[in-house]
């Protein structure tokens, strides 16, 4: 199995390389360059100077060569929109909000989803069940930006409990975190709740649970030790892709809450034709997705002994 994962790890290299090639070709096919005339009062000579400085006047493969040479040395290139700064420094500044948002949202979605799912299954057809199924349904039917609008209007503008924009600056500054996490996490939470509930119900109908009951074990022990533990196996394997999706798919929430994260920078980079930034973000996200995928496969093998990789 170690061999299998080593091969998978090695396989990441050609995949990521292909990602660079495809992204490079695509972004150069986008109309317009990073330095265009517009409301800025810069002259055409200045634009020509900038294009020359960043090799943008060279053929695309030469540009790709320059890029890959830098990349292999760990240099992700200059940040064309914020001149003078580099993509490395930009990513260094913006990865934290995105990572924090992704991790916190994953935790929120998992905990809420699992808890609601378990409660709904244990107390099947009770008010609790209906409530959590209702939450799961409503939560799943609202795009996160609609939820974001509602949360901001209610908790920031009306009750002034949480800030409307921005992100945490440190330990004590937890308030800006709450609304984005709720907006981003409720849909996956609803999803996890549904899966958990279904999985619980399935396990509860298994023979070995009946056996456990027949043995006279306490209900609490049965639920916690036998049902929950087995029912969470499929849920566990879902967390990888959900985390990857939340880490790489948070840009609308970042955009809406003005969170200085990578997602927002990526959209701005595409609109600003900031080539090195587009490349770097795509590569970073691709790596996150591949690793998450690998972790899922690993988890399958760990939690389900029937699966063997070779």
């Amino acid at each position: 199995m170690t061999g299998y994962f080593l091969r998978r790890l090695l396989w990441m290299i050609p995949i990521l390389w292909l990602v660079t090639v495809i992204t490079f070709l695509l972004m150069h096919a986008v109309q317009g360059g990073p330095f265009e005339a517009g409301e800025s009062k810069s002259s055409s000579a200045a634009r020509a100077a900038l294009n020359a400085k960043y090799h943008l006047d060279q053929p695309i493969w030469t540009q790709y060569g320059y890029y890959m040479r830098g990349l292999l040395q760990g240099d992700l290139g200059p940040d064309l929109v914020n001149q003078g700064s580099s993509v490395n420094s930009l990513l260094k500044q913006s990865w934290r909000p995105t990572a924090e948002l992704g991790v916190l949202t994953t935790i929120y979605a998992t905990v809420v989803g699992v808890v609601l799912g378990i409660l709904a299954a244990v107390k099947r057809n009770s008010i609790l069940d209906h409530l959590s199924v209702g939450f799961a349904t409503i939560g799943a039917s609202m795009p996160n930006f609609v939820l974001g609008i509602m949360l901001v209007l209610l908790f920031a503008v009306k009750f002034k409990i949480f800030p409307a924009v921005g992100w945490s600056h440190g330990i004590t500054d937890w308030r800006p975190v709450v609304l984005p996490v709720l907006a981003l996490g409720s849909l996956p939470a609803a999803y996890i709740a549904r899966i958990t509930r279904a999985s619980m119900l399935e396990v509860m109908g298994q023979d070995y649970i009946r056996t456990a009951r027949a043995k006279g074990l306490r209900e609490r022990v049965i639920v916690m030790r036998h049902i929950v533990r087995n029912a969470l196996i499929p849920v566990l394997t879902l967390i990888g892709p959900i985390a990857a999706g939340l880490l790489t798919g948070s840009f609308i929430i970042e955009y809406f809450f003005s969170i200085p994260g990578i997602g927002r920078a990526y959209v701005q980079a595409i609109l600003g034709r900031d080539y090195p930034m587009i490349m770097a973000t795509t590569l970073l996200y691709a790596t996150v997705i591949i690793v998450a995928n690998l972790v899922v496969d690993l988890m399958y093998a760990v939690v389900d002994p029937r699966i063997r990789y070779s």
């Binding site: 317009g32 800025s40 002259s43 000579a45 934290r96 409307a164 330990i171 937890w174």
Partner: protein, 588 residues
């Protein structure tokens, strides 16, 4: 067991875990955590203002903290690199130029200079092109070293170095002798810097430490106004050399040596810039505010939400909310209203059909119901306006453009003249995706339909929009002009052949107009200049380069404790943003 109680506990758990984690993440961060916690200005020394004398109703120095929204992140803090209004707002606090504009009267006033040179005070020589400027005595940089005329020579010439500055405004200061030659040099040449210096060394001269000599290429009424532009600010050569390519960049912004009332404390990319007083400022009285934070919130609604949530002290009013806010007595006391010193128009590409047909452009002007746009699209936050010049521009006469006012009968007549057979080609309106701009586009679409014109609306981003206009693909761009200074040359130069590829977005090129514009700029006597300016406006009314539609009425909200704001037409981004020196926080 009580399930209900446990359920509530379980619901609370994720929140608690999340918060603990947020705390843990924050704890490992290396970035400055004082941003919000120490918003009381812990890093500054309050002594200077206590002796400087705060107004009687002012809060203690530690509370002299203002947070405002400049809507976009500056690309740089390098004065030779800035050109957007949101950059200028910050830069004006950091770097002194020779002159400034009086926020109330728009008159040229001295800043680093001791006085505005005139023929009477001997500052302008008899030849009309040689200017002698004395600096205020004892000027210092924020690091305490003396600021001399040499620093201004360095800064002004640096503005022509395309490799460093991108020469924002480069085309504007061709009025210096040798500038035109310097701008034509090839930045890739090995001797580029020496060549730039050689072209300008006789026209930008430090006579002694406090005396500067400037030589104009030709007599020009707008010459001195150019030295209010950020690109002509002094920068410290030692500092520029030390920081190299990082001069003006966020990461090393706090190391920039400044000359203005403030210096940068921190610049957190994508979030905010914080400035604190420069204790060595010698260009005027020291500011009251001990800390000013400029946030970069692009969306007006988000900014308004942040204002309501108490995150910022200033925000613009989103147009759709204006009817509501203007009726809400608790909010009207927080609003500041002013007319922007600039105009909003639709640039039309007069080189491609149907815009190359003069009568068509006139017809479209006459078909544009500006009053409805001002009322329906902008909720009264814009004023219908037909002349391309704002009322405050010297010798602007709006009545000269009355032929272009909304008049369907006239519009149909002009259209019949333009296209007698009725085969009117469709036009394209490319706009950015913004609720208000799209409402404007759809309104124009339905108005132009009345004269038989089909309008295709395309929403896109700024970059594509500019590129398409430049490549003659779209034919229109909703834009306008915010005045840099009161002199009319700043506006009328836009429509000259010389501005093609720059601000002349519609490729308007008329030799007669070029001659008129050059003549007015070279005429120093206001009385002699006026008839030329009138003639110039008549020319534009008969052959319009744009569809002018509004002047903006800017309404900003300020928290009630923000006092000392100055109304100025120049600060077209925020009310008072360029003139913070009298602003203070009242006790609250």
């Amino acid at each position: 067991m009580n399930v209900r109680n446990r359920w509530i506990l379980l619901l609370a758990a994720p929140l608690a875990v999340g918060l603990t984690l947020a705390a843990a993440c924050g704890g490992t961060s290396s970035t400055d955590k004082t941003a919000t916690a120490a918003a009381g200005g812990a890093g500054t020394t309050p002594t200077s203002t206590q002796t400087g004398g705060l107004p009687a109703d002012a809060a203690p120095a530690s509370q002299q903290v203002l947070s405002m929204n400049i809507q976009a992140e500056p690309n740089t803090a390098d004065p030779q690199g800035v050109s957007y209004t949101y950059e200028l707002s910050v830069n004006h606090q950091l770097f002194m130029t020779l002159f400034d504009q009086d926020p109330k009267t728009s008159q040229l006033i001295p800043w680093a200079a001791a006085a505005v040179p005139t023929t009477a005070n001997g500052g302008i020589a008899a030849d009309g092109v040689t200017y002698t400027i004395k600096l205020k005595p004892g000027l210092k940089w924020s690091d305490g070293t003396p600021l001399t005329a040499k620093d201004f020579v360095y800064g002004i010439i640096r503005g022509y170095n395309l490799k460093v500055s991108g020469a924002a405004y480069g085309g504007f200061i061709t009025s210096i002798k040798g500038a035109e030659a310097a701008l034509k040099l090839d930045p890739k040449s090995a001797t580029y810097l020496t060549d730039v210096n050689n072209d300008l060394k006789d026209s930008v001269v430090a006579v002694d430490d406090t005396t500067l000599k400037l030589v104009a290429a030709a007599p020009s009424a707008a010459f001195l106004s150019n030295f209010t532009l950020a690109i002509t600010a002094a920068v410290q050569e030692a500092n520029v050399t030390a920081l190299g390519a990082n001069f003006g960049v966020a990461a090393s912004a706090s190391q920039m040596v400044t000359s203005g009332p403030y210096k940068i404390k921190e610049w957190v990319p994508k979030d905010h810039i914080t400035i604190v007083p420069n204790d060595n400022y010698g260009g005027g009285s020291k500011p009251f505010l001990q800390q000013v934070t400029f946030k970069f919130i692009a969306d007006m609604n988000q900014a308004y939400n942040a204002y309501q949530a108490g995150q910022i002290d200033e925000a613009a009013v989103p147009p759709a909310l204006w009817p509501q806010i203007s009726k809400d007595t608790s909010l009207t006391s927080q609003t500041y209203q002013e007319e922007e010193f600039g105009t909003r128009w639709i640039s039309v590409d007069v080189t491609i059909p149907p815009w190359n047909n003069k009568d068509f452009v006139i017809a479209m002007n006459q078909a544009t119901d500006r009053a409805t746009i001002a009322k329906d699209v902008y909720f009264g936050l814009r004023k219908a306006w037909t002349a391309p010049c704002a009322a405050a521009v010297v010798d602007c006469d709006p009545t000269l453009f009355s032929n272009l006012e909304y008049n369907l009968t006239a519009a149909k007549a002009s259209m019949a003249k333009a296209y007698p057979n009725g085969n009117i080609p469709p036009v394209t309106l490319e706009v950015v995706n913004d609720p208000t701009t799209k409402a404007l586009a759809t309104t124009l679409q339905s108005q132009w339909k009345q004269v038989g014109v089909t309008t295709n609306i395309i929403t896109t981003d700024q970059k594509t929009l500019r590129a398409d206009m430049k490549n003659h693909k779209s034919g229109t761009q909703i834009t306008g002009w915010g005045m840099d200074y009161a002199d009319p040359s700043d506006l009328w130069a836009i429509f000259t052949t010389a501005s093609l590829g720059g601000n002349n977005l519609g490729f308007y090129s008329r030799p007669t107009y070029d001659a008129l514009e050059a003549k007015q700029d070279a005429t120093l006597d206001p009385a002699a200049r006026k008839p030329i300016l009138i003639e110039l406006q008549k020319f534009l009314a008969a052959d319009p380069p744009v569809i002018q539609f509004a002047v903006q009425l800017r309404v900003d909200l300020y928290k009630p404790y923000v006092k000392g704001l100055i109304s100025s037409p120049f600060d077209y981004i925020n009310y008072g943003d360029q003139f913070l020196k009298d602003v203070y926080i009242a006790k609250h």
